[in-house]
Amino acid sequence: MADAFVEVDNVDLAYDEVSGNAIEDVSLSMQEHEFIAMVGPSGCGKSTFMKLCSGLRPPNKGHVVVDGREVSGPLKIVGMAFQNATLLPWRTTLDNVLLPLEIVQPYRASFKQKKAEYAERAKALLRSVGLDGYEHRFPWELSGGMQQRASICRALIHEPKLLLLDEPFAALDAFTREELWCVLRDLWMRKRFTVVLVTHDLREATFLADTVYVMSKRPGRILARRVIDIPRPRELEVVYTDRFAEIVLELREHIGRIRKA
């Protein structure tokens, strides 16, 4: 087996002295191209885990190694998307997607000269998530689901190796959510970036991920690791199979135990 792409080793993280550890003694390793999901009760430090992976927060104890290097600052090879699409209302959808290229190197230096080329790339990406023809619309002219698609495009435009998603579909209605599961699945099947998906939705985690981690209440620890051995490509219908239901139930039992404790 190759070296792990993300290696988290005995990590504690506290935001300040008063509130105690947000996550505690977390260890896991991810292969490159792996899709993992973190589930757990609210406030269990899932988002903290994301900050750790992106280099936004250093751990108080332990090590985080991404792509062979110890993480000490912002990583630049990560893309992020959140529950709120956080698109800039004064920029068109296209310009919103281009935003990371104005910031991250090496694109930043050549942004002015190669703008046309980058715009083409952004358009192709928007097309692949079904936002064809909306490039020049403003975010507030789009529906919630469309905004979230654009937000994911923004997270992917600089071709990050690691995609961090913090409950990206939580604010959407059930049908739109399932639609976007498939959008994400197709993007991942095509580009094979490494994904950390933080979610409350066990079906979402089971449908999309290779491996699901269950976290405890604050301070967050990893309680269980479940490999999802449903073969790919997975069609949406797989959600209604017994095999799928069994896995979801198993994960649900873990969560139930945490909530009772």
Partner: protein, 259 residues
């Protein structure tokens, strides 16, 4: 048809109200034979506006440019201070209480101090306009900058963006609607500042004109001065409202789309 008529009515409604007030005002003055020395009728004010058109225009110009000079100063200082206060928590904590304290000083009480420092005339008028109008600009710009969504900041910082990147790409455009909203408030405040200063310490400007006309019991001229000030202030307000709509339409249109 009814809808169109309704909309026309809506468009003309401010003028209709204005006309109604003027007519009632005129009627009251005539029916009760109110003396011009106490409360001049609109017709008397109009006569005096015409009669002294030349001097009024001269004083109005003086007031206009001192106001604009003070306002410009206020915008520059207000923006810089707002940027400073809004971009750093430390600065916010350190400077904000002081600014609130300064803002709560009645600016009219400040004019004598300025007169001691700079003598009577244009300079105190400009400075009074300035000190009265920079505060709302500062507060608004600082608010716009300080309320950037933390997630968005994370997205950019994870890409290696520095503070300046975040401020320029997100903070400044975000605070533009706040900035323009504050300009509308600031320009009217600037007029108040310059006129207050002129009434106390100047020999030029609408404030001075009203003061000296008042002391000679020429009330129609005093009212003419009042009207000229309010017309100037309203015109400048309209200019900035228009600018606001042109430059930051996304802020209000976004609201419409969501509604």
């Amino acid at each position: 048809m009814v809808a169109i008529r309704r909309r026309t009515l809506e468009r003309w409604s401010p003028w209709i109200v204005l006309a109604a007030i003027l007519i009632i005002w005129e009627l009251i003055c005539r029916v009760f034979q109110v003396s011009d020395f106490i409360f001049p009728a609109p017709s008397a004010i109009l006569v005096s506006l015409k009669q002294y058109a030349g001097p009024i225009a001269g004083h109005a110009f003086q007031t206009f440019w001192t106001t604009m000079a003070g306002f410009t100063l206020g915008v520059v200082v207000g923006l810089l201070l707002g940027f400073l206060v809004g971009s750093s928590r430390l600065m916010y904590t350190a400077l904000y209480p002081l600014m609130v304290g300064f803002n709560s000083i009645p600016k009219a009480a400040f004019v004598p101090v300025l007169v001691v420092w700079f003598g009577i005339g244009t300079v105190p008028a400009i400075l009074t306009a300035f000190v009265i109008c920079f505060f709302p600009i500062t507060v608004n710009v600082a608010t716009g900058l300080a309320t950037i969504e933390p997630e968005l900041e994370d997205v950019l910082r994870a890409l290696g963006a520095n503070r300046m990147d975040v401020l320029l790409k997100v903070g400044l455009p975000r605070s533009l609607p706040y900035f323009f909203a504050s300009l509308k408030v600031a320009i009217t405040l600037a007029f108040i500042g310059s006129v207050v200063s002129e009434t106390v310490a100047a020999n030029e400007g609408i404030g001075y004109l009203m003061m000296s006309a008042g002391s000679q019991m020429r009330m129609p001229l005093v009212f003419a001065g009042l009207i000229v000030i309010s017309i100037m202030a309203m015109a400048m307000y309209a200019v900035f409202a228009f600018l606001e709509k042109r430059t930051t339409g996304w802020a209000t249109r976004g609201m419409d789309a969501r509604a």
